[in-house]
């Protein structure tokens, strides 16, 4: 009997996808938001099998415990996969909540929008479990394909067209580089599953084979585009700015995390024996992403561009423990893995919250330019408080959630190990954390201290769509509670440790 329980989340998402298409056909324009509601129900339903899979050991009806291996090792449901699937579903729910009011007020198709968001989430959920090159590539394309369309949703807007075209061209380029790397890996090892690649590369001593080094570099570059690490980041700020803001929120969290999932599983499992190849590359990517992302963010005047560069910088921070993993033994390696996953989990809530606040304020002020936000604290104190909270969380100020992400990052780098490279990396990360505070605090200063611009409409009441309120509430509660009780999310990061322990 095939283990249907193990792929129940994917099956539910697949059925919901088809249901969403049909419900979109039946409904008249006025009730299109119900399509979004269906997608939300589907996502929530898909979360339940995740819970039963996670607690399977305690259930009497459930025979198998531990990780489940399907399709000959190509598809593995372990704790890491469950944690990341859960994160993708939460990201999907929040993205839909951000979109419902936003897309309704636009004069473009609605039903298809929810369908595409759901399709992209499904791809991400598949990626979290995929443990061979082909499944991973299909998952990655399922994440990116709908995202290209979503970026160009406002097709009457030239910026949106520019966003979609840049994203599409870069996405296709990165897919080609990735595929070329994967084909070389397959050619040299004769394996597509990650465990097979790891065994073959160790047995054949491929670490010194130039063609294999080239293959690993190509695969890394392909994923570096997806996570928008410098120098492969050019598309990100333009795409975030041109795309509808909820889509930018999804791209900076969902799509980026999918890239990290691919990078993590590939590097730790398939390329585990050849850590000396990818370690230095990730070190350079981490340093460049942090430094360039933060320095360019200092000069931004548009809030979405600022968040775009900030998300590039955060990709660098996430890479920091990962970059030093190459020199670790098994215990330090697990710490590094834990640091990366925990940072991703916390970053997802902070960044989605920041985007939710930006959507609410941009709707209130009517502009995404930071200058137009002056004096917001006087006529809309709640929104001002929210944006302050999320931006300080991103900067890493205690007691908001961001401090713990930074803490585990630094601990993973300098805690278990003292090499000059680790100390240099930690020093660069520390300097960057300070630079980041400057531009986050500048927005807060504008909101509270600058005068209200003359043409600003300060008298009308502040109206926030109910779904957006819910999204703000979820992310705000998460950012505050995790700040005081970081073990809530650290527990999930801890659970996923096992993936790195096999090396």
């Amino acid at each position: 009997m095939f283990d249907y329980h193990a792929i129940a989340p994917e099956l539910i998402l697949g059925v919901t996808l088809i249901a969403v298409v049909f419900i979109d056909l039946i409904l008249s324009d006025r009730y299109k938001y119900l399509v979004g509601v269906t997608a939300l129900v589907g996502l929530t339903a898909a979360a339940f099998p995740l819970l039963t899979l996670a607690v399977c050991g305690d259930l009497s009806t459930c025979a198998d415990t531990g990780s489940r291996v399907l399709f000959g090792g190509s598809y593995v449901i372990d704790d890491f996969a469950l944690v990341l699937k859960g994160l993708f579903i939460v990201v999907g729910v929040i993205t839909l909540l951000l979109s419902v009011g936003y897309i309704e007020s636009d004069d473009y198709y609605q039903g298809e929008f929810y369908f595409l968001v759901l399709a992209s989430i499904t791809g991400a959920v598949v990626m979290a479990s995929s443990r061979d090159l082909i499944t991973m590539f299909i998952g990655l394309e399922l994440v990116s394909g709908p995202a290209f369309l979503l970026a160009g949703w406002r097709k009457g807007d030239t910026r949106s067209n520019e966003a979609a075209l840049k994203f599409f061209l870069i996405g296709v380029l990165s897919a080609a580089i990735l595929l070329f790397g994967m084909s070389l890996v397959y050619g040299l090892t004769g394996e597509v599953t990650f465990t097979g690649i790891a065994a073959a590369s160790a047995a054949l001593d491929l670490a010194n084979e130039p063609a294999f080094v080239l293959a690993v570099v190509f695969v890394l570059v392909g994923f570096a585009f997806k996570i928008s690490a410098v120098p492969f980041h050019f598309w990100a700020p333009d795409t975030y700015q041109g795309a509808p803001t909820p889509v930018a929120a999804y791209l900076s969290v969902g799509s980026k995390t999918a890239g990290f999932v691919g990078l993590l599983t590939l590097c730790y499992q398939a390329f585990g024996p050849v850590r000396e190849i990818w370690g230095p590359i990730l070190w350079i990517l981490a340093v460049l992403s942090m430094t360039v992302g933060n320095l360019v963010a200092l000069r931004q005047t548009n809030i979405v561009r600022l968040l775009g560069y900030s998300s590039i910088a955060h990709a660098g921070f996430i890479l920091v423990p990962f970059a030093m993993a190459a020199t670790y033994d098994s215990v330090g390696l697990e710490d590094a893995f834990f640091g990366t996953v925990t940072y991703i989990l916390i970053y997802a809530f902070m960044n989605l919250g920041a985007f939710a606040a930006v959507i609410a304020i941009s709707a209130r002020v009517g502009s995404g330019e930071i200058d137009a936000w002056g004096g917001l604290g006087r006529y809309s104190p709640n929104l001002a408080a929210l944006v302050t909270m999320f931006f300080f969380a991103l900067a890493g100020i205690p007691p908001l959630a961001g401090w713990f992400a930074k803490f585990v990052m630094f601990r993973a780098v300098i805690g278990a190990f003292s090499s000059p490279w680790a100390i240099v990396l930690a020093a660069i990360a520390a300097v960057n954390a300070v630079i980041a505070l400057v531009y986050y605090a500048r927005v807060v200063k504008t909101v509270y201290m600058d005068p209200i611009p003359e043409h600003a409409d300060a008298d009308s009441p502040t109206v926030v769509a109910p779904s957006l309120k819910l999204a703000l509430a979820i992310t705000a509660v998460a950012v505050i509670v995790v700040g005081f009780f970081p073990q809530i999310l650290a527990f999930f990061g801890d659970a996923s440790r096992a993936l790195a322990s096999g090396m």
Partner: protein, 122 residues
């Protein structure tokens, strides 16, 4: 490594003979055939019927949706052929699998029809 490159000698010889064959056959026919050009002979050959329009004529952009739909069902056919050959060996499971696959594709077709994609005038 030398054995690896020696294998390429076969490829090189094969390529040389291929080029030679084309040169000899085309060259010989150019020398031997009678030359009698006419307007009809220099027309573009398009499966036998008279060509319509020039080589740079434009195609209506609406065709691309038909092309996409054609592609989807073309790929479906690619999957169905090997399935049909192995159906008896695979049994009931494969039948249900293919029905699920076709139903999902049909859902796409229903969507396309309802959205008016197949109507030429709009």
């Amino acid at each position: 490594m030398t054995g690896y490159f020696e294998d390429y000698i076969t490829v090189a010889v094969f390529a040389a003979f291929g080029a030679l064959l084309v040169a000899v056959s085309v060259g010989a026919s150019a020398l031997l055939r009678p030359k009698n050009p006419s307007a009809t002979k220099s027309q573009t050959y398009e499966c036998g019927i008279d060509p319509v329009g020039g080589g740079w004529s434009q195609t209506h952009v609406r065709y691309y949706i038909f092309a996409l739909l054609f592609l989807i069902f073309d790929v479906e056919a690619v999957f169905i052929f090997p399935w049909a050959i192995q159906l008896e060996a695979l049994g009931m499971f494969a039948l249900v699998e293919m029905i699920v696959f076709i139903v999902i594709l049909l859902a796409g077709l229903v969507y396309a029809v309802r959205k008016g994609v197949l109507e030429w005038e709009s």
